[in-house]
């Protein structure tokens, strides 16, 4: 099998100053072609470190794509290091000098003296035309048959070169075997339970991975094999996995819970209003992420202060006194109140203890009540959520959106 390594060269990248968008682009484009990056390495603009990383890459990968270090400044070391590691001479390429001079002429500028540095290229390289910048990319085949692509670090230059030349070439190097992948998104069921439910499902040429987020888990299924056969196997796998997990599956791929809940509301012709306490507006903010949310979202009252729960949402003062603001009856009254206030079909609410302060033995940090009130009924739900303040808030938003999805989708509400 082909093994692909992406080697990022840049002090800012390995230092975390800027995210490695070039790697992400290449890895995703490879995946879209049924290929997989197997190693990703990032190193600083340091000759010794790069040389060692390049030797490691040449020792394990069949295709290596480097990004960065092709510019004209002294910290651009890729050409020199490639020459050293592969024991090839650096030669001054007149064709590269010409390309660079033409480019500066087109821009109406005088070519700077450091142009020569960019035209010093390891012996035996093919050039990859850079339509959007100055330094051309390089392609090199080693004596052992490994193929090395050296691409610039400027994202739009790299992307154009990759799309036009590098990705199609890599794709054509691989005959037959491909990886097909799909992701099921689930909510409300812990990773360990999902793993139990899917035990024994993956075929020998397939894999299942679980990616937990705050309150939801992605189940990632993949199959490796002859390109044509994969899709059918994966379809069966996805169907069986969805069946075993049940209605905790809310979508596929990059679909978000707010998209699914919004679609379910629209299908019913229902409009929704939100009443929030501990989430402070975060639930409304998730709902309006969806373009066109105005078709079903009327608005939100954040009653962070108890006074507003009474005056704006009409929660009976006695209930707050008797049950506390963090309680099932108050959650339900908030949902009911906001539904009335906005003349909505569905009202949904959150009230709880986000922390870090404000918890008690009876009502600890992470205790959250949700209320939902819809044409078919009203209910409150209690959850003990984990994590620090921001996690409790994020998990609360996910739980509330799932309640909306369930009520609007006619699923069981537990």
């Amino acid at each position: 099998m082909i093994g692909i390594e992406i080697l990022t060269i840049g002090t800012e990248i390995v230092g975390g100053t800027i995210p490695d968008t070039n790697f992400l682009f290449l890895a995703r484009e490879l995946a879209a072609r049924g290929l997989r990056c197997r190693w990703h390495t990032a190193v600083p603009d340091d000759r010794e470190t790069l040389a060692a990383a390049l030797e490691t890459a040449l020792g394990r990968a069949t295709v290596i794509v480097t990004t960065g270090g092709l510019g004209p400044t002294p910290d651009d070391i890729t050409r020199k290091v490639v020459a050293t590691v592969l024991k090839r001479q650096l030669v001054l390429r007149e064709d590269v000098v010409q390309i660079l001079q033409d480019r500066f002429a087109r821009l109406g500028r005088k070519a700077p003296p450091n142009i020569q540095a960019q035209a010093l290229v390891p012996f035996g390289c093919d050039l990859i035309d850079n339509e959007l910048g100055s330094a051309p990319g390089l392609r090199l085949q080693t004596e052992e048959g490994r193929i090395l692509y050296a691409l610039p670090g400027v994202p739009h230059e790299l992307e154009r070169m990759a799309e036009r030349i590098v990705l199609p070439e890599i794709s054509s190097l691989v005959a037959g075997t491909r990886i097909a992948e799909r992701t099921l998104r689930t909510v409300g069921v812990p990773e360990s339970v999902l793993s139990d439910r899917l035990a024994g499902l993956a075929p020998p040429n397939g894999a299942i991975a679980f990616l937990p987020h705050l309150g939801h888990v992605d189940v990632h299924l993949s199959v490796e094999g002859p390109a044509q056969a994969n899709d059918a196997v994966l379809d069966r796998l996805i169907a069986e996995a969805a069946d075993r997990i049940g209605d905790a599956v809310y979508g596929e791929g990059i679909e978000e819970l707010e998209d699914v809940a919004g679609r379910a509301l629209m299908e019913r012709g229902w409009r929704i209003a939100v009443a929030e306490s501990l989430t402070g507006g975060a639930l409304g903010a998730r709902i309006v992420r969806v373009p066109g949310a105005s078709r079903y979202y009327l608005g939100d009252v954040v009653a962070y202060d108890n006074g507003a729960k009474v005056s704006i949402l009409g929660v009976p003062e006695a209930w707050i006194r008797d049950h506390g603001a963090v309680s099932g009856p108050v959650a339900e009254a908030m949902a009911h109140g906001v539904r009335e206030r906005f003349a909505a079909d569905v009202g949904v609410s959150t009230t709880g203890v986000a922390g870090p302060d404000g918890g008690s033995e009876e009502k600890p940090v992470g205790l959250v009540y949700f209320g939902i009130c819809w044409p078919g009924g009203r209910i409150s739900v209690r959850r003990q959520l984990l994590g620090a303040r921001s996690q409790v808030i994020a998990r609360s938003v996910t739980t509330a959106l799932d309640l909306v999805r369930r009520v609007a989708g006619g699923l069981a509400v537990t």
Copy 2:
């Protein structure tokens, strides 16, 4: 010098399915301590590939931090591979079993059978307590004196463990030359203008980097040299930079605009209420990110629907008809209305066109009005913001928070 390698384990990471936020977090936190990650490697959940990458890492780095692969499912391979590579036995740790059982008990759930998998740990590991999740992290010293930390892949769990234990430990291992870095956070001034204002400021052993975000720009200053000397140079640099930039500097380091605005409100003894339209709850959500926000935040009315602007916020219907919902008068009336409704000292509002639909020639996508009403006056502000829907919303929230910071801090409002 110490060489640090971060080794990310995850098929989805190396495949580009999800960005490697754990690496970014660790690299940035190392940088904040004057340390630098020298190698970053990512590999899939594949035993052979991981084993080889781990051997490579142990052959070059003095400190290795792995992320991912500590969960309970079969694709969680880190513990096994570490044991194999270091030729140590996997032992069933009763203390880990106990930690996991206690955790499930606290959650009121029965521990699943796969709990044992997480308690199988290479011989001779120290445990790193995981306050926010189940699998503890591991610390291991090799015979050659290399130190290996194995951390979980769940971001908030990793972050807490890194901040409490791993980063301080790594920091204490290093003496001598450091990179001192500080960051000024600015709002409302474009990167190119900031760059002009700071021209010629950096000393030969220093650097200035500009990191643009949505509506705010971080100015990152660094100096490299003997640990003691750096700080004084950096202090002078920061003071001069802050002076040149002026009141667009809202904070330092990781201070957020909502922290600064909240502190300014508390210093005045003012309480705030929010009225949102296009931001849909995102402004309130930013305010409640701050622990203790309940001391100054009363609540929020999201009047996404125009009816609610009239009925709940008391915006005159004629103003919406005459000026449109996206207008200065309506923004001001929303701020005034919510201030009255919650009996707050400050009311702040947003109304605009988030897109992708709903724009017109007169009121294009990205046009946003802000209103603010405080004991000293009331004003509306017009901004044309750039980007897609989510960017327009994020930039709107930042602009509104900056208005609050300025009004409560007694700065000019423009």
